[in-house]
Symmetry: C3
């Protein structure tokens, strides 16, 4: 049984951003030498998510508008009484979910043809971390 | 440490459909011979999900209407500029999430009394795959 | 390869409630003696969830209002034809998701600074269970 843990750091230019990270996850898997098992990819922040979907620019804009529609920026979240202004970022992160588990089979991420891993930043412009933990043999 | 990986294929009659797959997942677990560990059940497509909830016909219709309400079909998604017309299917899949991890204890799926595993198809009428990966001993 | 499984029981005073359970999950991990691996924390009911986010009272109220807004109580869910009245509880549980996987590194939950684990009850005032399963070495 082997484990390999790495931390990726993202510092996005924009407040909200969707970063395609499949190549970085694949690099961690390769470095681990583990060929069979599972890979946890999990945001270490409460205003960011990780999801699997299409790497298509139009769809990414659709996702962003959809999240803003269902979990909009508002001035009057109770959370803002703490001095924060990112209540919507928390809700967007909950909606998209903060983690995925990727199957690892025969040395490769066992994903469907169009499945790509994304880091979704909802309160960026500062360094934020994602854990990639590989577990297997 | 043992691994067992199988792929289930679904070709639904309807565009959207909710398929109860607990028996199929249990069959994979039994075949694996693994008695303790975790079972990843994950859609391999970006317009389908896997979730755990009640096998009750009325609730399934409620879930379908709720998803259509929160992630409606629309003609004007940007994703459709690629020639696709399934923008809503992607959003529904993100909302329901594409995977679950089932605990496996003493040779059985360690689920609550009413927990059942569902494959949720949001763009069907063609063959689509779900990976079931068992990891344990 | 080692496994350790425990079941937590919650009986909330209110119909909906958000219970901070990080200390209880940490206690299970400590008791397991496992220092490297993954911890599954998963509700065993179909009207409850488990999520990771901030332990901040205002935000928790925001989350509760947001869930009620997106998955409102309604008298007319089809599920209620069975005699139930908790259709909204199922939808809220689907939205927040019923489980998380926590990375375990060097004997500790490998969470970000502000990440806390919550049990979210959407149909309480009766005993309900959460499985905590630790897998690793």
């Amino acid at each position: 049984m082997r484990f390999h843990t790495e931390y990726l750091t993202f510092n996005t230019r924009k407040h909200r951003e969707y970063v395609h990270i499949t190549p970085q996850v694949e690099a961690v898997v390769k470095k681990s030498g583990i060929r069979e098992g599972m890979v946890l990819v999990s945001a270490m922040h409460i205003t960011a998510g990780v999801y699997v979907n299409d790497d298509e620019r139009g769809l990414i804009q659709d996702i962003d508008e959809w999240l803003e529609n269902l979990a909009p920026f508002r001035a009057d979240y109770r959370h803002h009484q703490t001095g924060e202004d990112n209540g919507d970022s928390h809700l967007k992160a909950l909606l998209i979910h903060h983690q995925v588990i990727l199957p690892l089979t025969a040395g490769k991420l066992d994903l469907g043809t169009w499945q790509r891993v994304f880091y979704s930043e909802f309160d960026g412009q500062r360094p934020k971390r994602v854990i990639v933990k590989v577990m297997g043999e």
